[in-house]
Amino acid sequence: MKADPRGVLTGVHFMDGDHACCEGALAAGSRFAAGYPITPSTEIVERFASRVPTVGGTFIQMEDELAASITLQGAVWGGAKAFTVTSGPGFSLMMEHIGYAAMTETPCVFVDVQRGGPSTGLPTLPAQADMMQARWGSHGDYEIIALCPNSPQECFDLTIKAFNLSEEFRVPVMFMMDEVVGHMTEKVVIPPADQIEVVPRRHTRKPVDQYLPYETNGDMVPEIAHAGEGYNFHVTGLTHDEHGYPNMTPQTQDKLVRRLQNKIREAADRIALFEEEQLEGADVVVVSYGITSRVAQRAIEAARERGLRVGKLRLITAWPFPEKKIRELAAKVKAFVVPELNLGQMVREVERAAAGEAKTFAVSHAGGGVHNPEDILKVIVEASRCPAA
């Protein structure tokens, strides 16, 4: 369906990633946010707090991230599209409730504007060191989807995508920004509402006596009902059956947890979004995401000027990780070069997926700034010198 024009700030704007993300949420139909201030994410909810009373909706600043991350889920079950924003330390606090959202299949978006860590780290400076945490931060077996914008424009466009994916798969989606993308100001074009596709909530049409809250068929995603509609459903974080009732047996656990995993994994090809350039005939492929992909572009171009055959694969969905793509490429290229603003996170996934068919080179950076393109270039050159597999 098309976006509600009341939330769409159509026009050509000059705004930073944080502000664009807020506009993306509004365009996607979100009318509820619960947040807690944390640099460098706070501007997203500050803008939302200012916009939403003129659009129709609610922002509440909760007393901590533990509350914010569950208040938004209450709002979802009350009928809203909801999100929260945070950075490293808050993201850590939200982990239990990300797990709750995954377990109860609550569609929602968690924005992490990554900054230097660990702990209090570098509140005003970038990093990309929460990537593994986005995937594995909560306890137990579960799957999430994670997106990485690399510009304010993408902060707008991909926030809408994040909401859409969350509704389609009834899963919490991690929106992995970084401090540079969040605070850089660029042109952001917001189209008219009728050009924006929004995925509606998968609300059941079944009558009350036939509805089971966690019954699924083909695509493994159950239909949802909201509180107050007479369905008298039960939602719990305990292992549950199709009725939503706690059913704590190994059989129910196996069935439920595998479905939560498979509903994402089996759709991984559909979910995977990446930007590719000159992969055909490449010796080296640079795999990057977020702000690092902008820096890597400079290094890639410099390498090509030297005659090296360098392809680019920019991850837009970081999770589920595009293993298939990497595996295919690994058979054809000599090496992957993975620059990240961390000491090696997504590079591990690249290495795992490559399964020894190609070499993997990390270009690590502890955070606090962006890479020097020369540092990435150096590794590209080294990678292209390695013998063919």
């Binding site: 009318r31 509350a67 914010a68 569950i70 209450g74």
Partner: protein, 291 residues
């Protein structure tokens, strides 16, 4: 049988229960089920629209209430029933949101959310079943466990002072504060009904036996012994100053309605402020229900 004229109405509680999930997991002599009877009675007597009634609970023995009542119900995470309930209420103000949880869940891990929701006067009805212990996990000390009690984490006796919950929530801003015990079944039902009429943060504490852990470890007998103690030692003092209603292991239990005042609730204050500041630009939230 000459009973053909008799109209057997059945248990008045039964329509509110998920009968397919009976029997429940609570121990013999546990008072939680008793509080559910009072809750059901309050629903009947106040003629609440059941469709818009939502129950949110946390983790613990009392938290299991959500799974046994036939309402839209949410069994959330430990300590976070109140913020979840806040989200529900803000997204759909027409919902009547009840938080039904235990003393450990609400006042320990959930303590921060308890005081902020009371401060904000969020329109929630909180039923806090206080069995003075962390029962589900095997009888650990709770912030409400009376001094000198034996628990599994204070095997030589609790030496911390315990919370006086009515005092705490009154200070934080609650507009309705009452305490009963599971002996006071009718008064509890009445308080719950009164809370339904109230707009704002209502808090009803119900002292309840935990025979398996609290009673047994402290050689206080079983559930029935606890009920007899409640009957003998409770004193109804409506309007009592809440700083005077602290509990001890075997002393007097002050019960009654302690606080019943009026303050604008969170959403009223929000609307007023926006209308004042934004005038015509303020858009009252349209139906949050997304299609």
């Amino acid at each position: 049988m000459p009973g053909s004229l008799i109209n057997d109405l059945g248990n008045p509680v039964e329509p509110f229960l998920r009968s397919d999930r009976m029997p429940h997991i609570w121990c013999p002599g546990c008072g939680i089920g008793t509080t559910v009877n009072s809750f059901a009675r309050a629903l009947i007597e106040s003629k609440i629209d059941l469709q818009s009634l939502v129950l949110v609970s946390g983790i613990g023995c009392t938290g299991r209430v959500a799974g046994y009542v036939k309402l839209d119900s949410f069994h959330t995470t430990h300590g976070r029933a109140i913020p979840f309930a806040t989200g529900l209420k803000l997204a759909n103000p027409k919902l009547n949101v009840v938080v039904y949880s235990g003393d450990g869940d609400l006042s320990a891990i959930g303590g921060n959310h308890l005081i902020h929701a009371a401060r904000r006067n969020i329109d929630l009805k909180v039923i806090c079943v206080n069995n003075l212990i962390y029962a589900m996990t095997g009888g650990q000390t709770a912030p409400t466990t009376p001094a000198h009690s034996i628990t599994s984490t204070n095997p030589y006796g609790v030496f911390e002072p315990s919370f006086n919950l009515p005092h705490l929530v009154e200070a934080a801003g609650a507009v309705y504060v009452a305490r009963w015990t599971t002996f006071h079944v009718r008064q509890l039902a009445r308080s719950i009904s009164e809370a339904f009429q109230k707009k704002g943060f209502s808090f009803i504490e119900v002292i309840s036996p935990c025979p398996t852990l609290y009673q047994r470890r402290n050689k206080l007998g079983d559930g029935l012994d606890a009920m007899k103690y409640y009957k003998e030692k409770s004193k109804v003092r409506h309007g009592a100053p809440t700083n005077e209603v602290g509990l001890t292991m075997t002393g007097e239990i002050v019960v009654g309605k302690f606080v019943d005042r009026d303050r604008p609730d969170y959403q009223t204050m929000m609307r007023t402020q926006y209308a004042e500041s934004l005038g015509e630009m303020f858009v009252e939230q349209p139906e949050m229900v997304c299609s």
